[in-house]
Symmetry: C3
Subunit: 443 residues, 3 copies
């Protein structure tokens, strides 16, 4: 009897222990679902950034090149997915710790979900292999999207797409493997949460090298009395560029928030809330800084600079959207935008013709965001951040230059002067983006 | 004492058993929340496809018909929701197993959530009744969106909207009941995961019949020496069409992913990850195939065909986005796009004027996607897939033809020649979509 | 032995008890993740409404003012975030129960997440502090977005932005504190689920006062024989306005659904499903009512009125999207749209020039939605609803008038006649939104 009396108490104790266990953490299969869901939501948001880049670039080029830039954007997004499947993913993630690059070979999920399919959902950090692949793939596509804006309005369609295939199949994944694949740069302690350097600067360097090798658009720069005179070439559709910027901002919540790579605990959920907030505030700050700076410097607000200010804020916070306070995020985003306001005319002085300002936004603000990580994240150091920026910059520049030059001296990368004047839509596609609107293109 | 010594061990064993139970599956109310959340996320993504169709079609018609096509698209989405509530949902889902159609009558959630409201969340497959209704409703609207593009630029506004009411209230739900309502076609073993046939072909058949009965736009076809000469009528705003395609691609993750109808387990989450990946890769493949084929066939890349290639890839994978490997998804999507590249000129040869290529994309690629299901899903057979395609096609064609013809011989379906030349925006709406842009429409 | 035999049975009983506990509710940390996730998803959807307002307004103004309206929209969204951080959030939520306003001071999460960070996830209603802040911030931005459309095409950029800063930093948060901050109006029993009054009418009143103080656009109204003659000023890009409306509709699922403020239980999930459905059906009904009414009244369907009808349905259902049946939601949304169809010409009779119809949509339909809450929600009374509408209206009108007048008599709020005729894009920004499309702006 005594035992029987004690028994319920002990069972009760057991229940308390059980409840404690149940409450100690989200149940592992539930966590698995949450983590996978975060990759899916983050993934579709980042996928939509492809539309954002398309609209931003379509709005910033002249109407005679709009259909071509749309074609490039949907094509490069598609090619990125195929290349990342055929070679990129394994090159990036199937790598030995501390290594330089992963394995060659088509990605297959075989094995990736095996444990979970057998009912073993691990320790609460698990997720579906495909959802992860999808999320990483849309990042790869983003790097290529950055390039297309810079080299617009004079590059041939097919050489551009070949460059994108190399970038998304090899250049981006190799650099990515150094850090996110747990390669040598990660071993050094480099820190780049969502890719200010790994995605945005990679795209920015490749774009910069491309712009230099391609040369500027006809009529953009003249030299008068030894001074460079810049002829502004206004974009044809600024509401479309505005829409593109808003879509990018919207997608960036997936870009930075999804880079938490987990939603399987209350701590993860809190972190993503913080990331959303900091991402938004850096962009808001970038917008306002560009607004004020262009008013002060030029006596008129410049919408295209304001849009680039928002994007610069987003790029700058991407290297570390979690550790800053809101005030620090505002500072980081605002300085990113200020750098862009000065970088755009500087590139023009150097006669580097960047149609949409992507080098200023993605490379300059990307470097800034990366170097400033130690300001808010004590796990990072300025030295290693600089090492990462320089080594990745050197690698991307060298390899990009080789690819651009091989293309230039084989199939050629630039349309003829006649084609450029007529517009790429006619020469590359044989159609008009707005056949009824523009005066000389009316058909 | 002995008992007491053993006791903790057994409690411990009980705890292990308990933990095993807790880990064996996501807790049922949690699963209920996940399932409901998937319907909500899938639903808002598919809802946004209405914007995608609007922009695609607005970009593909001439500027004089743009406001009308926008009006049609927001109106049909609204009418679809109302009709699906008043009669469609019960016609589709309140059906006896193996039956031909459900019950007539307005949908009410009464009873649908009763169990869950009483605290009984079932076995882990439950979900909120309204979330399910919302998700099914946006599918219904999609079928109608497909029609509007094909018959654009010459159909009267109100007869078109009456047709949409019949399509979304009766035709789509009856056909849907055969399979997704567990009717006779489901009993036969027909397989259509997210609706290559049930949604896309239904819209495609209705559009095809409408286009034939309406006749082509003025000036589209001439006969010269017994040969049909096609006059291309270019769309007025290709970046808008590109945006529409990207929005559709974005929404398709909800369309196919949400059709898993559950997120309440790790297996569901993994499945949706796979569906997202295959959906994306089929579209990517369709894009690249259309890019290459138009280059090879016409020596110029055709942006509108590339956009339709992407959409064809999406339609083709929709019948079975879960079982294919990525390679198979690439194949299925790519062949879907190739079929569209050939179907578009074929329809022109038949003098069937499809303004946006919707019949080629949604019907042809929809048939392809449906017939190829057994290639990757051993639960399906080619015979039953063909039976489903043919029986659904026959039903939709016959009923659509009756409705179109009744409309034609009562209130009329086509605007006058003068109205068509002036543009439907003037005749149907009395305004201009772009009053300041086009040359002759400047006011 | 007897004990030992009984023992497993009792452990089994203990397991049953345990299972019952586990099933009684979603585990608290899981609920915390769900709740936080709902804020994040709702937040990014509402954030995207900023793009919707931009496109709606960009499509409804003349092309000479398009870049300016884009600039205003991205700037006001950014300023709203900064102001809500610096002062708004604490003014709104750091308030004593029944009070008139909260505390002054910058928002910091310090303490907000302290419990959860220590592992105490509370009772299932918890959520991450940042996710909540983000969600509330995007609501604040919405209020400002409403104003920009009404006062477009003649207001100076910087005075407008200063007004937005006051609105989002002080006016909106103080009014919001009365109800959502649990202030005096909440104590009275006022009911406004997602903000027909707290967000939409606040924006509407501020816009109305601004429009009156600013005066109408040049050429909009003439007096002939004592009668007001209205010159319609058509919008420059109706597909863009349509896109904006669809984006707003899409974002509204986050606006109303997220206002459930929880997803941590099956009951919450069911409620959100119901909210999504009612939100959609009210908009669908508004669309169809506007379609039919404009056909009957004007013999032609008016696309811009149809778009406003959809938005009016959305605004009307926002005060109570949960308790109505679908039929009631259809009624509420439809009447909201009907009121707008009559309010728009009424405002014109009063020579109040509202460029996009925002006062009719957000104020008139907002009042309607708020007053009708007791029809479906027995917790509300018509008297208290009227009290809330009137007191909030009075406060916003008085404070807005003071701010607008101070701006008018210090830095001025209206551009000169020459600037207005030339377009604000030239005078405020020095550029063109569509430099290649419009006839006189070709550069």
């Amino acid at each position: 009897m005594k035992n029987l009396i004690k028994f319920p108490l002990m069972v009760s104790a057991g229940l308390v222990a059980m409840t404690t266990i149940a409450n100690a953490a989200v149940e592992v299969e539930t966590a698995f679902v949450f983590n996978t869901l975060m990759f899916l939501i983050g993934g579709f948001l980042v996928m939509f950034m492809a539309a954002g880049f398309s609209m931003l670039e379509a709005g910033m080029v002249r109407s005679k090149n709009v259909a071509t830039i749309c074609t490039k954007n949907i094509a490069l997004y598609s090619i990125a997915g195929l290349m990342f499947w055929v070679v990129g993913y394994n090159l990036m993630y199937d790598i030995d710790a501390g290594g330089f690059m992963g394995s060659m070979g088509i990605w297959s999920s075989i094995g990736g979900d095996a444990g979970a399919e057998a009912g073993d959902f691990g320790d609460g950090t698990g997720y579906g292999a495909y959802s992860d692949w999808f999320f990483q793939m849309v990042f790869c596509a983003t790097a290529a999207s950055i390039v297309s804006g810079t080299v617009a309005e004079r590059i041939k369609l097919w050489p551009f797409l070949i460059f994108c295939a190399v970038l998304t199949g090899f250049i981006y994944p190799i650099v990515g493997s150094w850090e996110w694949g747990a390669g040598w740069l990660d071993a050094k302690g480099f820190s780049d949460f969502a890719g200010s350097t790994l995605v945005h600067s990679v795209g920015g360097w490749a774009a910069l090298v491309g712009a230099i090798i391609l040369g500027p658009r006809l009529g953009k720069y003249r030299t008068v009395n030894g001074q460079t005179v810049v002829t502004p070439i206004p974009g044809s559709n600024l509401p479309l560029a505005t829409l593109g910027t808003f879509i990018l901002w919207f997608g960036w919540f997936g870009f930075n928030g999804g880079s938490q790579l987990a939603l399987g605990s209350g701590a993860d959920a809190m972190a993503i809330g913080r990331i959303f907030t900091n991402t938004n505030m850096a962009a808001a700050s970038g917008t306002v800084v560009a607004l004020i700076l262009t008013q002060v410097l030029y006596k008129k607000v410049d919408l295209t600079m304001v849009l680039n200010g928002a994007l610069a804020g987003l790029v700058a916070i991407t290297a570390e959207p979690l550790t800053p306070s809101i005030g620090q995020a505002v500072l980081i985003g605002g300085i990113g935008a200020a750098l862009v306001v000065f970088a755009v005319p500087l590139l023009d002085k150097l006669k580097i013709d960047d149609v949409v300002g992507a080098v200023s936004v993605h490379l300059v603000a990307g470097i800034w965001g990366t170097i400033i990580v130690p300001f808010t994240n004590s796990d990072a150091t300025y030295g290693v951040q600089a090492l990462g920026i320089v080594s990745i910059g050197a690698f991307v520049c060298i390899v990009s230059a080789i690819v651009w030059l091989v293309l230039k001296y084989t199939i050629g990368i630039r349309v003829t002067e006649e084609e450029e004047l007529a517009g790429l839509d006619v020469s590359e596609l044989g159609l008009h983006a707005y056949p009824e609107f523009t005066h000389d293109a009316k058909i």
